[in-house]
C-alpha cells in the first residue's frame, strides 16, 4: 500500500494514524460505500469525528451497515476481531449478539431516535470464547448529506470489570456480615452457604468439606449443586494435597462431572478451583470446591476473590470452634467452684468443733494463770479467734452459695450503727499512725439491714483499709443520695492497679505483691462483703488510684419493705477477732526484749509477717542459745542480711513486699550471702511446694505446723553444715576486710558485687547497697561534671577491656565530697561460676592528687610570670593559664583603680564589664570588699600594684568548682599577687633604663632631610658604644656627628653618652669641627674608656650644602651624586680621640650638590672579619647609588638591610643619612594673599634643588593651582582652615604634596570654567597627579621628573 497514491482516503482517515491506516487498507470499492474519494461529505465527517474521539465508538453506514470503529473501541471491546471487522457488515461483525443489538439498531434507523442501554450483558466472542461482558451504550442515527438516516453511531463504555467487581465484593461483604457472634458450626456453614449460593455467576456451584479429627473429610455444605450429586463424593477431590494446604485447579470432565449444574449460565462449568480452609498454625479445617464461571477468564482477580471467600469460611469455623472451647471451659470452672464451696463448707463445720474445744478451756486457764503462762495462753487465744473468724467467713459463703443465708432485716439508724463500728477500730487505726475521720450525720429514715451482716461489711472494709494504708487517713462517711443511703470507706493507702480492679471482689483472689501490713488473709473478705451487700439489695463499688488510695462505696435502698422476721435476734458479731488481728499487724509496743547476745551463738535472721509467729520463733531460738534478729518481711530480711550476714535465715514463704522464694533468690545472687543457709517455713504442704522452695535455693523446707524440736534440729544441722562449707569463705572475708586498701569485685557487666570495709570507709557506700552499678552512685554527675564522668567511663571501659591495669579517677563520696582514687585491677575467672570477674583494689589519693595539681599549677603560674615582659602581659598570660587549669568558661580580673569602675582584663570569650551579667558584676563588686586571699566560690580578692584586684573564675560546664579548688585558687592568688608586684618593680626599673637610654642615644627630633638608624650589638640594651647626633646651630647650620667608642654594651654606652654630650656642647660653642674634636681629645683623655673612640664631625649649611668636617680616625662619609657617581669624604682625617691630645686636627670642606645623598656611618656597617674595610665601603657606596631615587627614610632601612651580614650585625651600627636640600614644609592659612609668599619659598627651594627655570615655572604653576583649589574649594565654606605643602626631592624626582582640611570639589565647568583648567594644568606640568579626598580633607600628591 502506498499512502501517496490514495490521497483522498488518507485524508479521511488522517485523524488517527493507526486505525486510519487500517481503514485505508480496506478495499472500499468492494463495499456498498465505494472508494472513499467518492464518499459524501457527511460520511467523511462522521468517520473523521469517530477517529478523532477518545471515547470508545463504532459506527455503521450504508445499506449493509458497514462497520467502522476507533482506537478506543478496538482496545476496549473489539479484541481479536480487529482489523478483520473494518469495512464488514455490522451484522457479520457482531453476529453473536446481533439478536440483542439488531432490533435496537433497526429502531434507530427506522425512527431516527437514539437508544440507551446501561450495563447490558453481552456474550462477545472477541477472545476466542463467548465472554461475559457488560456495556453501557447509546445508538444514535447518522444522516447523509440529504438528511436521510443511513447509518448509526454507537458510543459505548464497557463496564465488565465494574459489574463483576461489585458482584464479588457483595458476596465477600455478605460472608463477613454474620450478625451473630457465636453459633454452632452447622449454623455458621449454613449462613456461609446461603451467601455463596446467591452468587451463581462467579460460583456456579460450591462444595464445602471439613476434616474430622482422624483427617477424613466429610461434606459440610453445598451450593448450586445437590449434596447427593456424584461429584460431591469425597473421593472426587485430591484430599491429601488439600490437607497439606495446597490449592488445586481441576478440569471437570467425564464422570463424575458428566452432568453438572450450570449455575446462572446456559452451560455447565468446565473447571473448578479447590481451596484449603486454612487454620492459623495448624492443618486446614477442610476445603472449598468452587466451580469456575466458564464465561470469564480465570485471572488473578478471580483467584483472589475465591481465596478471600475461602478465608471467610475458614475464619467463621475458627470463631465457632474457639467459642465452643471457651464455653466448655466456663462450664468446667463453674463445676469446680461448686465443688470447692461444698468442700469449704464441710471442712469449716468440722473445724468449729475442735476450735470450740480449744477456746473454752483456754479461757478457763487464762482466768488463773501466772504471767509467763498467760502470755502463751493469750497467744493461743488470739490465734484461735483468728481461725474462728476465717471459718465463720467461709461458712457465710457457703450459706450464701447455697441460698441458706438467714437474714433478719430490721430498720436500723445506719449512720449511728456505722459510726459505732468505726469507733471500734479507732484505737487500732491511730496506733498505726493514721487518722480516722467519721462523718456520719443522722439519715432521715432508717435502712433495713441485718445488723450482723452489716457489721461484717464495715469491719472487713475497715480492716482492709488499715492493712493497705501506711500513712494518711481512713474515712468513713454516710449520706443520703436520692432513694439510697450511701456509705463510703476511703483510705489513702497503696491503691489497686487498674488491671486488678475487675477482680477485686473475686473470691480467693489476692493481689500479688501489693504492699501491705501483713500478708495474712484468705482473699475472701471483699468477696463476702459484696455478697452481703447484695443480699441487702445494695451495690458496692470501688474506686482506686495506685499510690493515692482506695474508696469503697456502698449504696443501700431506704425503706426495704420486708417485714421484720419473727426469728429471734441473731447474736451480734463480735468485733474482737477483727481488732485482734489488725493489732497484730502493727509494730509491737514492746517486742521480745533483746537479750544479751551469747558471743558464741549462731546469728539467726527470722522473717515472718505474723507477729505471733515471729515472737514464737524468737523465743524458741533464743532459748536454744542463738542470737536472733526478727523482721517482718523479705525486703527487711534482705537488707538486714546484706548489712550483717547471719549464720542462718529462717523465712516464711508468704510475706508482703518480698516473699520467701524471692528472698532466697536475692540472697543467692549476692556473693556475700550466697553461702548463707536458708530455712523456709510454709503453710503450703505438698511435694511441689517444697521442691519449688529448694529449687529457689533454700537449704531446707519446713511445713507448718512443725514441732519446736524439729525446727531446732534443722537449725543446728544447717548451721553446722554451712560452718564447714563456709570456713574458707569466712577466712577470705576476714582477710579482705583486714586490707588497708579498698577491695572490690566487679562482674563482667561492670557492676560491683563485693566490697570490703575499707571500700566503705573511703567511699561511704556499704555492702547493704550491693550490687552497685554498672553506673554506681559514686560516679561524678554527667551533667554538671562531664569531664570527671568521662574519665570514670574510660576507666570502666579499660577495666572491662583489659586483663589488668591501673588508673586514677575522680569519684564522689556518699556525703558528696570529691575523692581521687588510684585503682589497680586484674581479671580473674570465678572458680565457682567460671565467669570472668574483675578484682581490684584502690586507695584514696585525693591528697596526693591535689598536691600534684597544686605543684603543677604553681609551676605553670611561675612560668607565666617569669616569661612576661610587663605587668599586663603577665596578667593576660596568667588568666589564660588559670582558665586552662580549671577548664573555665572564662577568667576575669577586675582591678579597682577607682571604686566601682574596675579595669577589666579577661581571657578570650569573656564578657566585658559592661556586658557582664548584672548578678556577676554584683558578686565581683562584693568580692572587692572581702579581705584579700580568702576565696568565696570561684572568686578571690588580691593585691594588684594598681589597686585591689578581683579574680573571677567562671566555671565551665564540664568542671564544677569544688572546695579543693578554692584552696588552690587562694594559693595561686597569693603567688600571683607577689608575682605581679615583682613584675611591676622590674617594669619600673626597665622604664627608667629605657628613659636613660633614650636620653643618651640621640636627638628626639631630626632636622628635615635627615634619617638615622641605630642597631645595638647587645640585646636587650637599646644603646651601645656607637652614636649619631645632629645639632642645630646658629645661621641654619647643622652639626652632624657619628662616633664609635671602643667596645659595646653598657660600659661603652656610658662612655658614648658622655662623649656625645660633650661633642654637642663643644659644637654649640665653636662651630669648627676640628676645634671641637681637639677639645674632645682633652675631655676623652680624662674619661676612662674613651680613648681611641673615632668620630666624624661636620657642620653643614643646610641652605647651600656647604660642609666643613673633620674625622678622628673614623671611616669616610659617602656622598652619592644625582648623576650616579659617589664620592668619599676622606679629607680632614687624623688620629682617634685622646691619642696625642693637644695636637692640631685638620679640617676639610665639601659642598654637597643638590639632590645628592650623604651617608655617615660607623664601622659596624662595613667592617667584616677577614675582609678589607674598603670592600665594605664600596658596598655602602653601591647601596647609596642604588637608592638615589629612594626617599631618605626608606633608604635608611634599605641600606641597613642590604648590608646586614647573614648572621646579623655583631657590632653596634649607627647610620646618618642626609639628602640636600631637606624637604620644604610649609603651612599657611587658606587665603589667596598667601600664595605669593608660598610661591617665593617654593621657588627658592627649587633653586636649591638645582631645578632649571622652565621646570621650576611648571612646578610653580602646578603647585599654585593645587593651592588655589585648596583655598577656593577646600575652604570656601569653612574659612580659617590651613594648607600644608610639602616638597621633597630625590636624585631624579620631585614630589609635591598639598594637603588641606576641607572638601575637594570636583570643578564644575559651568560655574567656574577656569578651575577645570587648573587641574588640567597640574596634569600637564606634572608626571603624576593623585587627588585623594576624604572627610578630613584633601590630599593632592604630584610627582615630576627633574633629571
Amino acid at each position: 500500500m502506498s499512502g501517496s497514491e490514495r490521497r483522498p482516503s488518507a485524508h479521511v482517515f488522517s485523524a488517527d494514524s493507526e486505525v486510519g491506516n487500517d481503514l485505508a487498507a480496506v478495499d472500499w470499492s468492494a463495499t456498498p460505500l465505494g472508494p472513499p474519494e467518492d464518499w459524501p461529505q457527511s460520511l467523511q465527517t462522521a468517520v473523521s469525528i469517530l477517529l478523532s474521539s477518545r471515547f470508545s465508538m463504532w459506527m455503521a453506514w450504508g445499506p449493509e451497515l458497514t462497520f467502522f470503529c476507533n482506537a478506543a473501541y478496538r482496545r476496549n471491546t473489539l479484541g481479536r476481531k480487529y482489523p478483520w471487522a473494518l469495512g464488514r457488515p455490522a451484522g457479520e461483525v457482531w453476529a453473536e449478539i446481533w439478536g440483542d443489538i439488531g432490533p435496537r439498531i433497526d429502531t434507530v434507523l427506522r425512527t431516527g431516535e437514539a437508544t440507551w442501554d446501561e450495563g447490558l450483558l453481552l456474550f462477545v466472542e472477541r477472545s476466542g470464547y463467548p465472554e461475559e461482558s457488560y456495556h453501557t451504550f447509546s445508538y444514535s442515527p447518522l444522516r447523509d448529506d440529504d438528511g436521510a438516516v443511513v447509518g448509526m453511531l454507537c458510543v459505548v463504555s464497557e463496564e465488565t470489570d465494574r459489574v463483576i467487581g461489585e458482584r464479588r465484593m457483595a458476596t465477600l461483604r455478605d460472608l463477613g456480615s454474620d450478625p451473630s457472634v457465636v453459633r454452632t458450626e452447622e449454623q455458621m456453614l449454613a449462613f456461609a452457604g446461603a451467601q455463596l449460593g446467591r452468587n451463581l455467576r462467579d460460583l456456579p456451584f460450591t462444595l464445602t468439606y471439613l476434616f474430622d479429627d482422624d483427617s477424613t473429610a466429610r461434606l459440610a455444605g453445598a451450593t448450586g449443586i445437590d449434596a447427593g450429586h456424584p461429584a460431591a463424593a469425597v473421593g472426587t477431590w485430591p484430599v491429601e494435597r488439600l490437607a497439606q494446604g495446597e490449592t488445586v485447579r481441576m478440569r471437570l470432565a467425564a464422570e463424575p462431572f458428566a452432568v453438572l449444574p450450570s449455575g446462572d449460565w446456559p452451560a455447565p462449568p468446565t473447571e473448578a478451583l479447590v481451596l484449603p480452609l486454612l487454620r492459623q498454625g495448624g492443618a486446614p479445617y477442610g476445603f472449598l470446591v468452587a466451580a469456575l464461571n466458564r464465561y470469564r477468564p480465570f485471572d488473578s482477580a478471580y483467584r483472589g476473590f475465591l481465596e478471600l471467600a475461602a478465608g471467610h469460611v475458614a475464619a467463621g469455623i475458627a470463631g465457632v470452634r474457639t467459642y465452643r472451647a471457651q464455653q466448655r471451659r466456663a462450664e468446667e470452672l463453674a463445676e469446680l467452684d461448686r465443688a470447692k464451696t461444698t468442700f469449704f463448707s464441710n471442712i469449716s463445720h468440722e473445724f468449729r468443733t475442735p476450735l470450740t474445744l480449744i477456746m473454752g478451756p483456754v479461757e478457763d486457764l487464762l482466768a488463773d494463770a501466772d504471767d509467763g503462762t498467760r502470755e502463751q495462753l493469750e497467744l493461743i487465744q488470739r490465734n484461735g479467734l483468728r481461725l474462728g473468724k476465717l471459718v465463720n467467713a467461709l461458712l457465710d459463703f457457703s450459706r450464701i452459695e447455697a441460698g441458706r443465708m438467714q437474714a433478719v432485716y430490721e430498720p436500723v439508724e445506719l449512720a449511728a450503727a456505722t459510726a459505732e463500728l468505726a469507733s471500734v477500730f479507732r484505737s487500732a487505726i491511730e496506733r498505726a499512725g493514721l487518722a480516722l475521720d467519721v462523718d456520719c450525720p443522722p439519715l432521715a429514715e432508717p435502712v433495713h439491714v441485718d445488723r450482723g451482716m452489716w457489721e461484717k461489711v464495715i469491719l472487713n472494709l475497715l480492716s482492709n483499709a488499715l492493712k493497705f494504708t501506711f500513712d494518711g487517713r481512713v474515712r468513713v462517711a454516710v449520706h443520703a443520695d436520692g432513694g439510697e443511703a450511701v456509705v463510703t470507706v476511703a483510705d489513702t493507702g497503696v491503691g489497686v492497679a487498674a488491671e486488678e480492679m475487675p477482680r477485686l471482689f473475686e473470691r480467693f483472689h489476692r493481689i500479688e505483691n501489693a504492699r501491705s501490713r501483713s500478708n495474712e488473709g484468705s482473699g475472701i473478705g471483699l468477696a463476702l462483703v459484696q455478697e452481703l451487700v447484695g443480699l441487702h439489695g445494695g451495690t458496692i463499688t470501688a474506686d482506686s488510684t495506685v499510690g493515692r488510695g482506695t474508696t469503697f462505696t456502698i449504696r443501700l435502698p431506704f425503706g426495704k419493705s420486708d417485714p421484720p422476721a419473727a426469728a429471734p435476734q441473731r447474736a451480734v458479731v463480735d468485733a474482737q477477732p477483727f481488732l485482734e488481728e489488725a493489732l497484730r499487724w502493727l509494730p509491737a509496743d514492746s517486742g521480745p526484749a533483746p537479750e544479751p547476745a551469747a558471743p558464741g551463738g549462731t546469728a539467726v535472721l527470722v522473717a515472718d509477717d505474723n507477729a505471733d509467729m515471729r515472737e514464737y520463733l524468737t523465743r524458741l531460738l533464743r532459748s536454744a542459745g542463738h542470737r536472733v534478729t526478727a523482721v517482718a518481711d523479705g525486703q527487711e530480711a534482705l537488707e538486714s542480711a546484706r548489712a550483717d550476714v547471719p549464720d542462718l535465715v529462717i523465712s516464711d514463704v508468704m510475706m508482703p513486699r518480698l516473699d520467701g522464694l524471692r528472698l532466697v533468690a536475692a540472697l543467692r545472687a549476692d556473693p556475700r550471702t550466697a553461702g548463707t543457709p536458708v530455712l523456709l517455713l510454709s503453710a503450703r504442704a505438698g511435694e511441689e511446694a517444697s521442691i519449688e522452695g529448694l529449687e529457689a535455693g533454700a537449704d531446707d523446707y519446713l511445713v507448718k505446723p512443725f514441732s519446736a524440736a524439729e525446727l531446732l534440729a534443722r537449725v543446728r544441722a544447717n548451721v553446722e553444715l554451712s560452718r564447714l562449707r563456709n570456713h574458707h569463705a569466712r577466712w577470705r572475708t576476714a582477710l579482705i576486710d583486714s586490707l588497708q586498701e579498698a577491695f572490690f569485685v566487679c562482674d563482667e557487666d561492670g557492676a560491683i558485687i563485693e566490697i570490703n570495709s575499707a571500700f566503705t570507709d573511703i567511699l561511704g557506700y556499704g555492702p547493704e547497697g550491693l550490687p552497685y552499678g554498672p553506673v554506681p552512685p559514686w560516679w561524678p554527675d554527667p551533667e554538671t561534671d562531664a569531664e570527671a564522668h568521662d574519665a570514670v567511663s574510660d576507666a570502666l571501659a579499660m577495666l572491662l577491656g583489659q586483663s589488668h591495669g591501673s588508673y586514677t579517677i575522680p569519684v564522689v563520696h556518699r556525703d558528696g565530697h570529691r575523692l581521687w582514687a588510684a585503682a589497680a585491677f586484674n581479671q580473674v575467672r570465678d572458680p565457682d561460676t567460671g565467669r570472668l570477674v574483675v578484682v581490684g583494689t584502690f586507695r584514696d589519693v585525693t591528697a596526693e592528687h591535689y598536691a600534684i595539681q597544686r605543684d603543677s599549677a604553681l609551676a605553670a603560674l611561675g612560668l607565666c610570670l617569669s616569661e612576661a615582659e610587663n605587668l599586663d602581659g603577665a596578667l593576660t598570660a596568667v588568666l589564660g593559664e588559670l582558665r586552662e587549669i580549671w577548664q573555665a568558661a572564662y577568667v576575669l580580673a577586675a582591678v579597682f583603680t577607682e571604686p566601682g569602675r574596675p579595669v577589666v582584663t579577661a581571657t578570650d570569650g569573656a564578657p566585658t564589664w559592661e556586658t557582664l551579667a548584672p548578678e556577676r558584676r554584683d558578686e565581683i563588686l562584693a568580692l572587692h570588699d572581702r579581705p584579700a586571699l580568702t576565696p568565696a566560690g570561684s572568686g578571690i580578692t588580691l593585691d594588684h600594684p594598681y589597686g585591689t584586684m578581683v579574680l573571677w573564675i567562671e566555671p565551665g560546664p564540664k568542671r564544677p568548682f569544688t572546695e579543693p579548688d578554692e584552696t588552690l585558687l587562694a594559693l595561686l592568688a597569693g603567688h600571683l599577687s607577689q608575682g605581679l608586684h615583682r613584675i611591676h618593680q622590674i617594669d619600673q626599673q626597665r622604664e627608667t633604663a629605657l628613659a636613660l637610654q633614650r636620653a643618651i642615644l640621640g636627638p628626639d627630633r631630626l632636622p628635615s632631610g635627615f634619617a638615622v638608624r641605630y642597631e645595638p650589638a647587645t640585646r636587650p640594651l637599646k644603646v651601645g658604644g656607637d652614636w649619631y647626633d645632629t645639632i642645630e646651630l646658629a645661621d641654619g647650620r647643622i652639626g652632624i656627628v657619628v662616633g664609635d667608642c671602643v667596645g659595646h654594651g653598657l660600659r661603652a654606652a656610658t662612655v658614648m653618652g658622655q662623649l656625645r654630650s660633650a661633642c654637642r656642647a663643644l659644637l654649640l660653642r665653636d662651630s669648627s669641627p676640628a676645634r671641637a674634636l681637639m677639645s674632645l681629645d682633652q675631655f676623652a683623655g680624662h674619661l676612662p674608656g674613651a680613648t681611641c673612640a673615632t668620630v666624624f664631625c661636620g657642620v653643614l649649611d643646610a641652605a647651600t650644602g656647604h660642609l666643613t668636617y673633620s674625622s678622628a680616625g673614623h671611616p669616610p662619609a659617602i656622598v652619592g651624586h644625582p648623576d650616579g657617581t659617589t664620592h668619599l669624604l676622606d679629607q680632614g682625617r687624623s688620629r682617634p680621640l685622646a691619642v696625642h691630645p693637644g695636637d692640631d686636627r685638620p679640617e676639610a670642606t665639601y659642598t654637597v650638590p643638590p639632590r645628592a645623598t650623604l651617608l655617615l656611618y660607623t664601622d659596624g656597617l662595613v667592617e667584616r672579619r677577614r675582609r678589607p674595610l674598603s670592600i665594605g665601603i664600596d658596598q655602602a657606596s653601591a647601596a647609596v647609588r642604588h637608592g638615589l631615587g629612594t626617599p631618605i627614610e626608606d633608604l635608611a632601612s634599605e641600606i641597613m638591610d642590604r648590608l646586614t651580614p647573614d648572621s646579623g650585625y655583631d657590632d653596634d651600627v649607627a647610620l646618618l643619612l642626609y639628602r640636600h636640600p631637606g624637604p620644604l614644609e610649609l603651612e599657611f592659612p587658606a587665603e589667596s594673599g598667601r600664595l605669593s609668599g608660598v610661591r617665593a619659598a617654593l621657588r627658592n627651594w627649587l633653586e636649591r634643588c638645582g631645578i632649571d627655570a622652565n621646570t621650576t615655572q611648571n612646578i610653580l604653576v602646578a603647585a599654585g593651582e593645587a593651592c588655589a583649589n585648596a583655598i577656593e574649594h577646600g575652604h570656601r565654606d569653612a574659612p580659617g582652615g590651613r594648607i600644608r605643602l610639602r616638597a621633597a626631592a630625590t636624585a631624579g624626582d620631585l614630589r609635591l604634596i598639598v594637603t588641606d582640611t576641607g572638601r575637594w570639589k570636583t570643578p564644575d565647568p559651568a560655574t567656574s570654567p577656569y578651575r577645570g583648567r587648573g587641574l588640567k594644568l597640574m596634569r600637564a606640568f606634572m608626571h603624576a597627579v593623585t587627588v585623594t579626598s576624604g572627610t578630613t580633607g584633601t590630599i593632592v600628591d604630584m610627582q615630576a621628573r627633574i633629571s
Binding site: S1232, G1233, R1234, L1235, S1236, G1237, R1239, A1253, N1254, Q1257, N1258, L1260, V1261, G1264, E1265, A1268, I1271, E1272, P1313, Y1314, R1315, R1317, G1318, K1320, L1321, A1324, F1325
Partner: protein
C-alpha cells in the same frame, strides 16, 4: 597681602609685570576689559613678558577677552599659554 602686579596701558598695549594669581586676577581682568574697550576696535596687545607667574585665574581673564587681544610673552609663560589652549584662540607672539 596681595601679589605684586603692575599694569600699564599705553597706546593699545597693556603691559603686566609681576605675578598674576587668584588674589589679583580680578584686578587684571578689570584692567583688561577697560583697555579692550579703549582700543576702539583694533586688538589690544597684552604684554606678559615681565610676568613671572600666571595661574588659571589669570588665564581665565585672558580667555574672556581672547577675541579682542593679542599676547606677547617670554619663554617662561609660553608653554602655559600653549597648553592652556589660549594660543589657539588668539595670536601669541613669543620673543
Amino acid at each position: 597681602m596681595t601679589t605684586a602686579l603692575t599694569l600699564t596701558t599705553d597706546s593699545g598695549v597693556l603691559t603686566a609685570a609681576g605675578e598674576i594669581d587668584m588674589s589679583n586676577a580680578e584686578t587684571f581682568a578689570t584692567a583688561l576689559a577697560t583697555a579692550v574697550t579703549a582700543t576702539d576696535g583694533s586688538r589690544l596687545v597684552v604684554d606678559l613678558r615681565s610676568v613671572e607667574y600666571l595661574d588659571s585665574a589669570g588665564l581665565a581673564a585672558l580667555f574672556a577677552q581672547a577675541d579682542h587681544i593679542e599676547v606677547r610673552t617670554g619663554p617662561l609663560l609660553a608653554p602655559l599659554l600653549e597648553i592652556s589652549g589660549l594660543a589657539g584662540l588668539t595670536t601669541v607672539h613669543q620673543t
